[in-house]
């Protein structure tokens, strides 16, 4: 068993406040590194039993009450779950261990699943508590530039949490919005009023940071609902199918549809209960999104697993694609803008790519793998870039840090003449997970805080796992140490579980498999590429963090 380390970090404003996530809890630390507060995101009700004061506090007032109430109904035994009238998509999120077994099993399908899976199902059940908690962990964390708001996404319940920060380290929950698909990256628009949510299914949604009352179930959502009912009527007709058997099943379908209609009526509130506008979409897993500005106009840059970086116009013309930045030969996992006109991307390739994104032109490739081999003892010839962090605090201005999965180093690059140049490697005591830059008022140099995971040998780098590196000339000074907060619930998980949570980027790499294998399943023998399982795989929650 191993405790979960701090994973995601972000700086809150300019007063030296650091926000760090561990499991489903956000911790804030002051400029003096002292712990200020903890804020549990409650997770799914399964993890926070009814009456647990922590979770109850975070429950939101009226408009958001809907979803959380509905979800809390579904906790408890599976029998209860089956009987409850909550719609399928939501159930899947809460009752994730079952959903894992049968990706999109409709209501009442659980019994069947159990029967089919037999012994396997029992095993899953035994693991359920651990798995359920794992699912609600923070998977994304972003703060506004002034630190007044924090957006966190919890994985299992696919919920976007918006929180308010009082400027002194205390967070208050504003809203929880449950997405249909698991978010894979978030960004804030230039005006910091809209959250851009990129999901595993390739779509980008715009959510207002602070939902107003009249936003809930407005036109957009209502239209989506209407469409859903419209779609229920769609299907084949007797002019499109011709064999007797197909015609028979068509009749059967018509009967079922009639029976379903009543049920559908009940499920109406299954749709999104808050404003979310679909902006654009890739037919690929999105891994990264940033909001950019050029000539005073907003743009949205999105990177996907199929090597594309798309440059779209910003709201309200997000449907217009300006160009693509094409050049990667492996997945893209992260993109960033060290300067407004310079895009840097990284992923499964051994280089970082620097782009003139507005023109869609590759400026240069900057070697990374070789440095990892020389200075960080990486063997093998693949690296997976997990994060790129442009630095804008004193002492580190113009630097870009890069970290890779399971590489005990932070690679430092310099932005020079609109291009990227390798500077140095900072070796760290554990695997870096995330980086935040903290500007402490009254100090000449900023801090780089790196969240570290203990390495495979189990050596703990520092009590909290938060490593501080002073930037600029101050590197000789004694770096402050963040304490390991005692309070709160720290989940102890088996090491493989922890690794599954922390290391997800390498899984994006495509495996060299033949079409037959890719198709898998029962159809592969009959036809080259049946490939039924893949959409589930794309949707499946276990695929990513």
């Amino acid at each position: 068993m191993a405790p979960l380390p701090f994973q995601f970090l972000c700086a809150l404003g300019q007063d030296g406040i650091l926000c760090a996530s561990r499991g489903d809890t956000l911790y804030t630390f002051g400029a003096d590194c002292a712990l200020i507060a903890e804020h549990s995101l409650g997770g799914s009700p399964a993890t926070a039993p009814e009456g647990s004061s922590n979770a109850e506090e975070e429950r939101n007032p009226a408009p958001q009450k809907g979803p959380s109430e509905a979800t809390s109904q579904t906790q408890g035994t599976e029998e209860e779950v089956n009987e409850s009238a909550t719609p399928p998509p939501k159930r899947r999120k809460v009752d994730s261990s079952v959903a894992d077994v049968s990706a999109a099993q409709p209501v009442g399908g659980n019994d069947k699943t159990q029967a089919v899976n037999g012994g396997g199902q029992k095993k899953k059940k035994a693991e359920k508590p651990a798995e359920a908690t794992e699912k609600a962990y923070v998977i994304l964390l972003k703060a506004t530039g002034d630190g007044s708001h924090v957006v966190a996404v919890t994985g299992g319940n696919k919920t976007v949490h918006a929180l308010e920060h009082d400027g002194k380290g205390h967070l208050t929950g504003l809203s929880q919005r449950q997405m249909v698909k698991r978010p894979s990256d978030i960004a804030l628009t230039a005006d910091e009023k809209t959250i851009l949510v990129a999901d595993k299914f390739g779509d980008v949604y715009a959510l207002p940071l602070i939902p107003s009352a009249d936003d809930s179930l407005d036109g957009g959502a209502a239209a989506a609902l209407q469409e859903a009912t419209l779609l229920a009527r769609k299907g084949a007709n007797n002019l499109t199918v011709h064999t007797q058997r197909n015609l028979r099943s068509l009749e059967e379908q018509a009967r079922q549809r009639a029976a379903k209609a009543a049920q559908q009526q009940q499920q109406k509130d299954a749709g999104p209960t808050f404003k979310q506008d679909l902006l654009l979409g890739h037919v690929s897993m999105l891994t990264s999104i940033v909001a950019a500005t050029a000539d005073g106009r907003p743009y949205i840059l999105t990177g996907d697993r199929d090597e594309h970086i798309r440059v779209s116009r910003g709201i309200p013309q997000a449907h217009v694609i300006e160009n693509f930045c094409l050049g990667h030969t492996s997945f893209i996992s992260t993109i960033c803008l060290p300067r407004p006109d310079l895009l840097v991307s990284g992923g499964g390739d051994s280089e970082l790519f620097a782009w003139d994104w507005k023109a869609g032109v590759l400026k240069s490739k900057v070697e990374l793998l070789q440095h990892a081999k020389n200075e960080a003892n990486v063997d093998g010839d693949k690296i997976d870039v997990t994060g790129l962090y442009p630095c804008h605090v004193a002492g580190g201005s113009g630097l870009l840090m890069a970290i890779c999965e399971r590489v005990k180093a932070v690679f430092v690059f310099k932005v020079q003449d609109g291009n990227l140049v390798y500077a140095e490697t900072i070796n760290v005591a554990g695997y870096p997970l995330d980086i935040a830059f903290i500007q402490v008022p009254g100090q000449q140099s900023g801090r780089m805080v790196v969240s570290l995971d203990q390495d495979a040998e189990g050596a703990s780098p520092s009590p909290s796992g938060l490593y501080v590196h002073l930037l600029g000339n101050a590197s000789a000074e004694q770096a402050p140490v963040y304490p390991n907060p005692e309070g709160g619930r720290i989940d102890d998980l088996p090491r493989p579980e922890v690794e599954k949570i922390l290391y997800t980027i390498g899984n994006l790499r495509k495996t060299e498999m033949s079409d037959d294998v890719a198709a898998g399943g029962d159809n592969s023998a009959a036809a080259g590429e049946a490939g039924e399982p893949a959409p589930e795989a794309a949707e499946d929650e276990s695929g990513a963090p």
Binding site: N237, L239, D306, N323, A534, P535
Partner: protein
Amino acid sequence: MPGAPNKKQKRADYRLARSQQDGATEMPKKKFYRQRAHANPFSDHQLEYPISPDHMDWAPFFPAYTADPEELPEATASANDDQTAQRQPKRMRQDVEILDIGCGFGGLLVALAPRLPDKLVLGMEIRTQVTEFVQERIRSLRAQHQDSNQFQNVGCLRANTMKFLPNFFKKGQLSKIFICFPDPHFKARKHKARIVSTTLNSEYAYALRPGGIVYTITDVEDLHNWMVHHLELHPSFERVSEAEQESDECVKIMTTETEEGKKVERNKGQKFVALFRRLEDPPW
């Protein structure tokens, strides 16, 4: 499955026999190339696609249209540098302008090619066997029409257009996109796999030049409504009027010459046609 290895063997034999035949004028037989009519567009497959449109080597598909080195002044400069010459694909005298997405067995392609002799027509198909069939078909047609040089302007390659369209085509490169009898994906859960969707339409708009046309035809009324709904909803497209649609020669070809079109005719099914024009992007 019993019989499968046998089928495999027969297919291999057939292909071998064909490949040994020089300048095969005989048309390929469909029965050796059939493949299940559904492919999963989200799966990784083992696709070959260029890193970017500039990396695409069109020469194998349109050998008659490769530019002679003398014709291009820049070519002399690049000839000095052997390495870049090797890496750079051959230049083409013109770009592909007409695309059939999901070309199937290529009925539309071979019907369009002689009618649009000064344009390059490309079919993209996700099923390997079917792609091979169309390539063989084009090879035979070219051999049969050596004197008239017909069918040099048509090609077919395997691709997943839903994922990799921008890898093949530059912005505004295409003037016509055909989407004929696409997989209807009836289940609501599979709607994202449909070839026309709000988000994917942006990519069609990217590859199409303003004024370019998306042609859709299907025998499934619901899918027709779906496609109309999503393309009309997209700010970059407007529906082409009925009258203009009637007068378009390509519509007639699309309705009568595609394999699916013929099959629907045999079964006395309906056909639903809709055309959409790519509008200029709004000022930004």
